[in-house]
């Protein structure tokens, strides 16, 4: 499954990131890479942006990008 399918308060582990190189780099700098744990803290409805926590870092991203992050 992908990150956009995760409901608030649910956790998952990143399996793979299928996004453009630059975005992958920026995600990596925020602590998102294969093998890392993620949790969805908030999301605004089904289509709204999501607040995601990786370690001690929170960030927001849109559903479209979240769909490029495969998790388990």
């Amino acid at each position: 499954m992908t990150l956009d399918q995760l409901a608030p308060t649910q956790c998952a582990t990143v399996v793979d990131i299928e996004l453009p190189f630059e975005l992958r780099e920026r995600l990596a700098a925020l602590g998102v890479k294969a093998g890392r744990h993620l949790a969805v803290v908030h999301r605004l409805g089904h289509w709204g942006p999501m607040q995601v926590r990786a370690g001690h870092t929170d960030f927001i991203l849109r559903v479209r990008e979240a769909a490029g992050i495969r998790i388990k």
């Binding site: 995600l27 602590g31 908030h42 605004l44 409805g45 942006p49 479209r64």
Partner: protein
């Protein structure tokens, strides 16, 4: 940067939102614009500091996530590190996020420059139960490490001692190893993990923080936006609740100075000199000065909002709507920051990576009702509307400001919009210290005065000249220069209900909106007290509102235009940014005035 090659130079570097600028302020006493909002340092700030017995230059570099990134900030830092020689690199980390930030330290370490690692926000880390073994970290990194809280000022003395010691043994400055930028990230990654696991203890589960609990309410799907509007409404209520009594005090003082001291002193002076001092200088500049308390309170309260971390939440809440306009949530935040002054908000667009989206933001930010326009609008709404309606009039103009910005974005999104992905770090809520608040308020007000004082004084005096020359004519009558100019402008402004002579003030408002009010005082030959009554006797509320709409929307001030030109690096775009608002302002005022006249018969 023009620096003598022998002077010691220290650079502060670190990820966005690590408190680097606050630390810079602590070390140098220079207050960089700080906000709990990623990417606020947009220019290279530098200041001189005395360390030990040496004058040292300290440079605050923009925040960057990685030396290998592609953002504009990252390019700036990389270029700086490649080109400039340094005596010491001070790497600032957010201690809470040490795990994620260490790879950057290792990237920087590979440059083989003298280095010092600062764990900032040590108090927040301790509060979250993160225990950092500084000795072990120092040992594994092979670089001195110290813990500080820049916000509270803890550990700054020790940091200064370490910095002094680090540069004491050196002859000059060193250049970085050029090939260091090519090191593979994966290897650094593994090393960082090893260092963290040896030197840092994380609690097993994170406590549900206060931030999470507040966010449950403020980020609520349905309540979030209404709460935002309510908060902003409360902010403006507070601005007037606190600011207006202070303003009354200012008026009283200036009145005392004018009537009790200056007027008697000039009793025997020539009428021209008397008019110049009393109606030009005192009425013009004095009217503007009475608004200083409101501006000060406004800036202090905006600083609370900026430092609190709430703006990132606003970006989150608004993103979906802004995306439809080819922008993202950050653009909305810039719009709010623009309420202080448009210029820093325009510079803040540098966090937006896509050029076309940045241009679209640059185009719409000047519609944000800045503090200079606020003065004019507050003044006019108090003069034309009863006290219980005036705040609603103001609120309506804020609404118009956002509507015009959104509509403009809608119109231009095909040309400039983009669907750049949004990826924004979310800071925890933080309470600003009182010291920081007053510094920020004072700094912004001083900036406002410094930036505006020359313009205000010059503009007000020029308006005085235009409305009084030739001296044998009645001031501001058809025979004066201003009267002739106004007659020429009349066909453009009369369909908007804007009085010929009022249009003169608008002409000067193009330079700086701060001039408009002082200009009005000079044009009508009245101080703050009588100006309102005088205006109310000459115009009706429909004309006044049309005038306010025009002031709100028309061409950005000269500093904003210069900033847009610099940021967009395009004269053509800057021209568009001048003409478009002018057209919109005319259209909106015309639409309002003609409709209102028709409805009211």
């Amino acid at each position: 940067m023009a620096v003598r090659p022998t002077r010691r130079r220290i650079a502060l570097v670190g990820m966005p939102n690590t408190g680097k600028s606050t630390l810079f302020g602590r070390l140098t006493g220079v207050r960089a614009k700080v906000a709990n909002w990623p990417g606020m340092t947009v220019d290279l700030l530098s200041a001189k500091v005395i360390l030990g017995e040496q004058a040292v230059e300290v440079v605050d570099l923009p925040g960057l996530y990685s030396l290998h990134g592609f953002g504009e900030d990252e390019r700036v830092v990389r270029h700086f590190l490649e080109q400039e020689s340094l005596s010491l690199l001070v790497v600032v980390l957010n201690a809470v996020q040490i795990e994620r930030q260490l790879p950057l330290v290792l990237q920087l370490k590979a440059l083989e420059l003298p280095m010092l690692v600062v764990l900032n926000m040590a108090d927040e880390a301790a509060h979250l139960g993160i225990r950092i073994n500084v000795d072990r970290l120092t040992e594994s990194l092979g670089v001195p490490v110290c813990q500080v809280s820049a916000k509270r000022g803890d550990g700054i003395g020790e940091l200064r001692r370490r910095m002094t010691a680090a540069i004491a043994g050196q002859d000059g400055r060193m250049s970085s190893r050029a090939d260091a930028l090519l090191i593979e990230d994966d290897r650094l990654e593994i090393e960082a993990e090893r260092i963290v696991s040896a030197g840092v203890d994380f609690p097993h589960s994170l406590p549900a923080t206060l931030t999470d609990r507040i966010d449950r309410v403020l980020l609520h799907r349905w309540l979030g936006l209404p709460l935002f509007v309510l908060l902003m409404y409360g902010l403006f209520q507070a601005v007037y609740g606190i600011g207006v009594p202070l303003q009354d005090g200012c008026k009283w003082l200036i009145g005392l100075l004018r009537e009790g001291w200056l007027a008697p002193a000039l009793e025997n002076a020539s009428p021209v000199l008397r008019s110049f001092v009393l109606e030009g200088l005192v009425d013009g500049v004095g009217t503007v000065l009475t608004f200083l308390p409101i501006i000060l309170v406004f800036f202090v309260l905006m600083a609370v909002v900026e430092d609190s971390g709430y703006l990132a939440r606003v970006a989150f809440l608004m993103d979906r709507w802004m995306a439809r306009l080819g922008l993202d949530g950050r653009a909305f935040v810039m719009q709010i920051m623009g309420m202080g002054c448009n210029v820093p908000a325009l510079m803040g667009t540098r966090v937006i990576r896509s050029r076309s989206q940045r241009l679209l933001s640059l185009l719409v930010i000047p519609f944000s009702l800045c503090s200079a326009r606020l003065q004019v609008i507050v003044f006019l709404s108090a003069a034309f509307f009863p006290p219980h309606q005036a705040p609603l009039v103001l609120l309506s103009l804020y609404a118009v400001s956002f509507l015009v910005a959104f509509a403009s974005a809608g119109v231009w999104k095909r040309r400039f919009g983009s669907d750049e992905p949004l990826l924004l770090e979310f800071p925890p809520y933080r309470l600003p210290t009182l010291r920081a608040l007053f510094q920020q308020g004072w700094h912004s007000t001083r900036h406002f005065l410094q930036g505006a004082s020359g313009f205000i004084l010059g503009g007000v005096l020029l308006i005085w000249l235009l409305t009084h020359v030739p001296f044998d004519q009645a001031p501001a009558s058809a025979g004066t220069l201003a009267g002739q100019l106004a007659a020429w402008l009349q066909p453009v402004f009369s369909p908007l209900g804007i009085d010929a002579i009022l249009s003169i003030a608008l002409l000067f408002g193009f330079v700086a909106k701060e001039i408009v009010l002082g200009g009005l005082a000079v044009i009508y030959g009245a101080g703050d007290d009588q100006l309102g009554e005088l205006l109310a006797s000459r115009l009706d509320w429909v004309q006044a509102y049309s005038f306010m709409l025009f002031i709100l929307i028309y061409t950005p001030c000269l500093s904003s235009v210069a900033t847009i030109r610099r940021e967009a690096k395009s004269l053509r775009f800057a021209t568009l940014a001048v003409i478009w608002p002018l057209v919109v302002a005319w259209g909106v005022s015309f639409g309002f005035y003609q409709t209102a006249r028709w409805l009211l018969g």
